[in-house]
Symmetry: C2
Subunit: 181 residues, 2 copies
């Protein structure tokens, strides 16, 4: 069995801007940093994904300062990076080809946001045949409004995890994953 | 602009079995039937997707009676059908190639279930560049359990629509769509 790769989705500074709304799980970045340190120490594969938005007002546009990776998720030289313009890290990128070439079959996914890019990438990874672990406390999202109702970020986060768990991935906390390295 | 295609996801008899849990929106099939009739009358493109599960116990396995389309969504001769084995109707099928060849750019998505195959197909359609309308009352899902908590089918349905609306698609009711045909 191959070593599982840590796939970091869009851990970028632009998500700190008020543009996105109210966030949950402020400790996500600390958990991501701990997982990243453990992955480096164990010499497991690490893959950084950066969102390069084409939306006119997005803080994640390539020319904006918010496009930069957060301090907790700065790639080291030699760690592979993929840039994407849509939610799925598999569309418009060479991620799938890279994983096949490296014979990586297991992914541990962290990053932002739970219900948009993390969920979409988790779903597509699973449907492409990869085994996915999604780290519940190393991801986060923002509040959403729909049909005159307001949903808190935590409500969106939890229900989206409930939809993913068992169908597309196993949802687990950071501590359980660190315990097994 | 091309005529929007009606994309029917997994409207199959096997979803009536207790295997899946408690469902919401019992009127989904009636709404699907009305949309299908309107699409046929307007001679707009119709695409049927059938799930052929590889899960050992799934009522949607190809050899089970539950694999059949429900009466409300029976294809007519000449209407195209795609079979899939994963959630996304775009993975392991020729759906994308067919849509490009037919110059179909707009999809109206209905079917089962909101947070699994419908959500995954909606996300991937949007990320591949299609314009997607998701019909909120022509889809439904089941209750989910995660992390010791129970989520009703309606809670899962509504929050998943909230995550999709505006990011991947426009969520609209059947009546609004029928009004415009």
């Amino acid at each position: 069995m191959s070593k599982p790769a840590l796939l970091l989705i869009d851990v970028q500074k632009g998500f700190d801007e008020p543009y996105w709304g109210q966030r949950n799980n402020p400790h996500a970045e600390a958990h991501i940093a701990r997982l990243l340190a453990a992955w480096r120490q164990a010499q497991r594969p690490i893959i950084h994904v950066r969102h390069c938005s084409t939306e006119p007002n997005s803080p994640l546009r390539p020319e904006r300062p918010g496009n930069a990776f957060k301090d907790e998720a700065q790639p080291l030289p030699g760690e592979i990076q993929f840039s994407k313009t849509v939610n799925s890290a598999f569309i418009g990128t060479d991620l799938e080809a890279y994983l096949r070439e490296q014979v990586i079959t297991d992914l541990v996914i962290v990053g932002l946001t739970t219900d948009h890019c993390v969920s979409t990438t988790t779903r597509m990874a699973a449907n492409l045949g990869f085994t996915v672990t999604l780290v519940e406390d190393a991801t986060a999202t923002f509040d959403r409004k729909y049909n005159g109702r307001y949903y808190t970020a935590d409500e969106i986060h939890q229900t989206n995890l409930a939809s993913l768990h068992g169908e597309f991935c196993t949802v687990r906390p950071t501590a359980a994953i660190l315990n097994e390295i």
